[in-house]
Amino acid sequence: MTAHAVELAYGSRTVLTGATFTVPPAAVTALIGPNGAGKSTLLHAIAGLLPPRQGKLDVPAAARRGGVAYVLQSTKVNEHLPLTVRETVTMGRYATTGAWRRLAATDREAVDRALEALAITDLARRSLHELSGGQRQRAFVAQGLAQGAEVLLLDEPITGLDLVSRQHILDAMSAERAAGRAVVVSTHDLGDAAAADHLLLLAGRVVASGSPADVLTEANLAAAYGGHLLQIGDRTLILDDHPHH
């Protein structure tokens, strides 16, 4: 997946300009940057929901129906909707079955595998309401996996989760990478970002991209986060505001 001089905007509000970068296949790419840097907006654009105002965003996987799976921030999901875990995960299959075609055995198997991958098989018949935040998030990630896409996008999938859920989601991401898929994940945690294969540091533009060692330099972070950086000994601390706005 490649982007050349991409500009993204909502109406008159420009969010990201001049973005040129590559997202490698079979790798985990982390999007980092301060609030409003354009992380979620870029994920929206890759998912095909926001056409670039300028430039060229080439996502070959999007040529196939359901080729890009998008796991939204859990706070954006309607929590009043009564759904079981299995119903939720099954939605991922609608990308290929469409609105009407009956679910085949392969669809049910894909749902089973996704439930298994996030260790929520025993919760399949439970209602989303009854689950913990971490379990719900695992259901949403399983929904993305069930789609069987070549590109998996996740918007802050592990922010504020319990350790068990966090680990299951990280394991699922690794498994996707091992299976040759491109995983693109936005995060506020530089520790998580350092564990990724590839980084995009955003701040209304692409400040830096490449391996964690290349991107996570003091100069780059200062350029992206401005005055919100604090040096304590040999550690860099980011004073960011709350993760959701």
């Binding site: 929206h44 929901l49 359901g66 998008y70």
Partner: protein, 284 residues
């Protein structure tokens, strides 16, 4: 009078049987659409749409053309207005929709005020005339109920994912924009086909009362629709019963029972929660 007659008498007359059928059909259409309305949190929009049909009906009465056509045209205009507000307004959506709502109501009343039988017309328009439904009204209602039911079955996945999250629906290729418009259209059909029974002011009671009550009771969307229809039918039967014995306005009685059911279930559940948690001090 013995007890059996007391319960059976209300439903003996032909016009009462037609009222029962009209109410029952209205419930099917409103419950199925209403479930999506309630679960998506679009109640206010539903209320606005219910009032949006008034000018069209008023014009139809004044100029003597089909009330259904008038209501549908009016509803279509309202849907167009709502869509404009949703897409273009920089203000809170509710403000724009609220203004449309009042504007259409005002326009409707202005039109009716030109009519000679003002009071009668306003009354049946706002509060319905379920005891006066004709066979052709019933045929139209049956058609509307089937249409709404069919569309909800065919569009179930699209409606479900749109209710889950609009961006998710988009990323799955389920066309959230078209789906939303289809839902508005189905709301209009349910409202237009039901206002004869309960009136444009009270149709909102059927659109949200039974589905909201069902949502308190069950945890699956399709089950919500089924339970909502059952609760709605109960409201119609009980409403007509009270209307007959105590000479109450029939539409208001049916809508009133629908709303009363919601608050009864809500209160019982709150009381149950409170009792369960009573020993634990300080917990909400």
């Amino acid at each position: 009078m013995d007890i059996v007659h007391w319960f059976a008498d209300p439903y003996a007359a032909g016009f009462m049987q037609r009222a029962l059928l009209a109410g029952g059909l209205a419930v099917v259409a409103t419950s199925v659409v209403g479930t999506w309305v309630v679960l998506r949190g679009l109640s206010f929009l539903g209320d606005a749409l219910a009032h949006g049909v008034i000018p069209g009906i008023a014009l139809a009465v004044l100029w003597g053309f089909s009330i259904t056509v008038g209501a549908l045209v009016s509803a279509a205009l309202m849907v167009a207005g709502v869509t404009l507000v949703e897409r273009r307004s920089r203000l809170d959506e509710d403000t724009g929709v609220g203004l449309l709502f009042v504007g259409m109501l005002a326009l409707g009343v202005i039109i009716i005020s030109k009519s000679r039988s003002f009071t009668n017309d306003v009354q049946s328009l706002l509060f319905g005339d379920v005891l006066g439904v004709t066979a052709s009204d019933l045929r139209l209602q049956a058609f509307a109920a089937l249409l709404v039911l069919g569309a909800s079955v065919l569009g179930y996945r699209a409606f479900l994912v749109l209710s889950f999250n609009e961006a998710k629906a988009g990323s799955l290729g389920l066309h959230p924009g078209v789906t939303h418009l289809a839902l508005l259209a189905l709301m209009a059909v349910a409202i237009v086909s039901s206002f004869q029974s309960v009136g444009t002011l009270l149709v909102f009671g059927l659109l949200t009362g039974p589905p909201a009550t069902a949502a308190l009771l069950v945890r699956r969307v399709w089950l919500c629709m089924v339970v909502s229809v059952a609760l709605g039918w109960f409201a119609v039967v009980v409403g007509l019963f009270f209307s007959y014995h105590f000479a109450l306005a029939a539409g208001a009685a049916m809508a009133g029972v629908s709303v009363a059911m919601f608050f009864t279930v809500l209160s019982i559940q709150a009381l149950w929660e409170w009792r369960r948690q009573a020993p634990v001090m300080g917990k909400e």
